[in-house]
Amino acid sequence: MNAIELAPYRDAAPLEVRDLACRRGERLILEGVSFTVSPGRALILRAPNGAGKTTLLRAIARLTPPVRGTVSLSPERMTWFGHADGVKAQLTVAENLRFWAAVHGMQDITPALEAFRLADLADRPAAYLSAGQRRRLGLARLLVARRPVWLLDEPTVSLDAATVATFAGVVGAHLAAGGLALIATHIPLGLAEEDVLDVTPFRARESAEHAHDPFLDAGFATARDGREEVSR
């Protein structure tokens, strides 16, 4: 399983998140999120659905700009993998992957194909892949992006046990090469280098939500009787 080996990432640096507050839509979801992930470590985000795992990952990627707080690494060192896998049905497996490789300035897609057991399927149009194969193709993008920080949102959804193991092997190789990963997942990957962070305690307090949304301001209740206030 650990047959995969990745070239070490240059200038590995820890990902430090300090006092991050993030929103989804108008609403403040999380506040005061602080943690550090060292190169070679994976952080598993655990929380019930809707608690803000995706929100946190999107804030770290700066896709949704954080309301407050700092993230030590720039989005240029990160790559994102979300619920949707970004696979184009009309293109072949190799074409799909070659596109993402070219976007990230890479040439060789063979290691990525092999790591996800897709080498035999390279010339097959993605429309004719099984759900699991398709998902693997989506994940293979992570390897051609060559970014040291992986932000993964439920990457193992709809994967069978064997594929989860393959994926865990790839993440392990990524960590061994000095990369780091943030993974929102319910299914444990069984990585040796993983820490777990429960997001639930960072849920935004009501007072913070009110401070964030000017339309929840308590002043409104009196503003309704503005004239009364003037006369007072």
């Binding site: 839509g25 108008e26 609403r27 339309f215 929840l216 301001d217 002043g219 409104f220 503005g226 004239r227």
Partner: protein, 242 residues
């Protein structure tokens, strides 16, 4: 205290609550004065006959139609730069007012055009430009209505207002080149003697002030409605969470 304090929704509600009745009364009175003056106490024009009385609606509504868009553009820029919610909502509130003013300018223009030019509608550059402006208002209003998240809607409509302004101006010049029109030149300029006689000038200025006041009143009123809608939305969302 800086002027931006009033960009806080609560402060805006308090202040506007005090100002609005006076503003509404003033604009109603002035509107009455201007239209009665214009309709009953102005002479006929020697060329245009009594149709010249339409000027007291046509010109002010046309001015508001354009300036409402300019105001929306400025409010949108303030929102994009300073993130003041009242600014974004004021832009939203002004759009229907601007659209109705554009419609009034178009309708009165058509009714004026029929006896003067012998046709209800001529593809005159000015009329055409107002028709185009009307389309821009429709698009802007439709985009606000289509987006569920109000902050996203405010951002996207602001971007549309900027790009739309550029292309609205371009359309204006395109229409000019496309058809050299029948329309008379500006009725009102700094050098007024050249254009409009005093008997028309003073009621016209009164009407313009009345329309400006009406516009301000309506925008404040509608901004208050939008703020209340946002407050309602926020409260309901909070209830749903509990």
């Amino acid at each position: 205290m800086s002027i931006w304090e009033y960009a806080n929704p609560v402060r805006f509600m308090r202040l506007s609550d005090r100002v609005l009745p006076w503003l509404a009364a003033l604009s109603a009175i002035l509107m009455l004065v201007a239209l009665v003056w214009g309709f009953f106490f102005t002479p006929d024009d020697y060329r245009q006959g009594s149709t010249v009385k339409i000027i007291f609606i046509h010109v002010p509504s046309a001015m508001i139609a354009i300036n409402a868009w300019v105001m929306m553009l400025i409010a949108s820029l303030i929102w994009l730069v300073r993130r003041h919610h009242v600014s974004a909502l004021a832009a939203k509130a002004a759009a229907p007012v601007g659209a109705v003013m554009t419609m009034i300018a178009l309708v009165t223009g058509a009714v004026w055009g029929e006896p003067m030019w012998g046709t209800w509608w001529a593809w005159d550059p000015r009329l055409t430009s107002f028709l185009i402006l009307f389309l821009f208002y429709l698009g802007y209003i439709a985009l606000w209505a289509a987006i569920d998240n109000p902050d996203t809607a405010a951002d996207l409509t602001s971007v549309l207002a900027i790009v739309g302004s550029v292309f609205a101006v371009l359309s204006r010049y395109a229409a000019l080149i496309w058809n050299q029109g029948l329309h008379q030149g500006a009725s009102l300029s700094m050098d007024r003697a050249e254009h409009v006689a005093d008997v028309f000038y003073y009621p016209l200025v009164t009407a313009i002030i009345a329309f400006i006041l009406l516009f301000v009143t309506l925008v404040i009123l509608r901004t208050r409605t939008e703020i209340r809608a946002r407050r309602l939305r926020a409260l309901l969302a909070r209830e749903a969470r509990e």
